[in-house]
Symmetry: C2
Subunit: 340 residues, 2 copies
């Protein structure tokens, strides 16, 4: 069609977009579950919703943030697809929700099929891991908005929880135990600071430096995908009173989000091993330990609160989990107090 | 908290982000409906879902595209908030779905509270117009990813349709009539081409040129918000067999998306008045008319198909609607044939 050429001169390639969509759709179809009623590409994605008593739909939207700049510099993208899905799954898990379906948004200056399909492959993989369907998305070409080789990736998740099974922290009591599950690395937070500390915008060669304590290069360690906790926590959700996903702002900002008024959480810093990547960042950036806890997850990706009576059963079911603190009366307001 | 300052040095301002979120939440709360169960800011947005027989959730994701560059150049943002909501509402309306709730994603290099709140105000306004709740979103600060003053805006919509009321074109028959509803302007498509034609990347002063045939400046005409068709079409949906939202690719690409195999649509170009903005673009870009129809909506924002028996009732209920063509047997494949 003649106008394709016309539009291509303005930096938008519709034919390439069509081929890319076809390849992305192939990845997405591998995640379909019986409720999916429309193939990729119709105006809306349709999901037949039934079998619940008093369902609450739980949705969330998030981006990968500037971890994408590391992915672009390393030219390694599948992990970013995993990142956006896992981040989203963990967010709605904080309400007790199981994932149903996912849509993505990829924006690029000039469409790069290989990158877009790598992202889709990573998303589809992480979706299948939790039984979620990747039902649609948008791949936008925005000439003049994104620098060459850079892109943004955004995810939109829909899950469900029965109304009487919502987890939101309201049953938390003073004396409850606080447990943590290990992160795989930085997950998707703290990257603007890391880029500054290692001057990655000036010199991406830093990413190729091998660090013995990491057992790999800095770039490899930084790109470690965000971990999804749904399959681990699902069997024990009935014993869990509150869940906090440790994202931007670290434990300090995220734990208070689930606490009832008048309560605080005391976290004992020595109860888990902080992975070496955080010590490397702290040393290189000359950052105080307390500050580290307000930016990074410091090795704990998910925090959950339970009655002390259930601690033993929880640890038996989740051998990786550590008791990292307890719920205390707040001195002034909801907070997360760190002690040694 | 000390680390706020630390992080601010890396270009991310958490305190400003907190204040901005607070202001956005105020706008969002004005859209809440009784099903909304969590305030803005929890890990997931919760929406109590009930009262349907055999519901199908209909979701869609989209961005505003490079119309945002015009909004940035004009420093006029509320309309972009309307754009993303209306675009999304129209997309799921093509399945017959009514809007339930909306989440947004705003990404900026350096957070600009005024811009973010303007966008939220526009989104909230367009959400209220169709009774949809703005339940959550993400405002991302991505230093080094977006140029100063530029941003991306993405929307995620969730709606619902009863399974036996899905509109997807499958009942369309040869001889059915094709109706069109007027657009308000370019809506959200064709902007990369327009930017090229008017050389807007080199000289934004072009946006301030007054054109008598437009009755306003080029910039004002280009920023006219995307129109939402939900309230207009809702009362007549039972008479409608297929709906196509005329977005990227124009009628040529979008109408065939709803046609059963073996059918085509013949559109009579003279049956509606093409707004002067399109003639201005055509003249300035020396574009063939046929090509214009493959990029722009040409004055028809929404196309729908119905039985000829219902034409009179439809026009009575929708006085703006025009019969613009009919469904014919396809010569080779599904297509949209333009005739004079």
């Amino acid at each position: 069609m003649p106008s394709k050429g016309l539009y291509a001169r303005a930096g938008v390639d519709f034919d390439l977009a069509g081929r890319t969509k076809h390849l992305i759709a192939e990845e997405a179809r591998k995640t379909f579950r019986p409720e999916v009623m429309a193939d990729i590409g119709f105006f809306g994605s349709m999901f037949n919703f039934k079998g619940y008593r008093d369902p609450v739909l739980v949705s969330s939207v998030d981006g990968v943030g500037t971890k994408l700049k590391i992915a672009a510099a390393m030219n390694c993208h599948e992990g970013a697809g995993v990142d956006i899905v896992s981040h989203s799954v963990n967010d709605i898990l904080c309400c007790g929700a199981r994932p149903l379906y996912f849509l993505d948004y990829i924006a690029m200056g000039k469409l790069n099929t290989r990158v877009a399909v790598s992202l889709a492959r990573g998303m589809a993989k992480a979706c299948r891991e939790v039984g979620m369907a990747l039902v649609g998305g948008e791949t936008a070409q925005m000439p003049g908005m994104y620098a060459d080789g850079e892109y943004d990736l955004v995810g939109f998740i829909t899950g469900v929880v029965e109304r009487d099974e919502i987890i939101d922290g309201r049953t938390i009591k003073i004396g409850d135990v606080v447990l943590g599950l290990p992160s795989s690395g930085l997950h998707t937070n703290g990257y603007s600071l890391v880029r500054k500390i290692f001057r990655l915008d000036d010199d991406t060669a830093q990413l190729k430096v091998f660090y013995p304590e990491l057992g790999r290069t800095l770039g490899e360690a930084l790109l470690e995908p965000h971990r999804s906790y749904y399959n681990r926590l699902k069997p024990v959700l009935r014993m869990v009173k509150g869940i906090a996903h440790i994202t931007g702002g670290g434990m300090i900002d995220n734990i208070p989000r689930i606490l009832p008024d008048g309560m605080a959480i005391r976290v004992r810093r020595g109860t888990w091993e902080v992975p070496p990547i955080f010590e490397l960042i702290r040393r290189k950036g000359r950052i105080k330990v307390d500050e580290m806890f307000n930016v990074f997850n410091m090795g704990i990706g998910m925090v959950f609160v339970a009655s002390p009576d259930n601690t033993r059963r929880l640890i038996r079911s989740l051998p990786e989990a550590r008791v990292i603190g307890e719920v205390i009366r707040a001195a002034s307001e909801d907070e997360c107090v760190l002690i040694k």
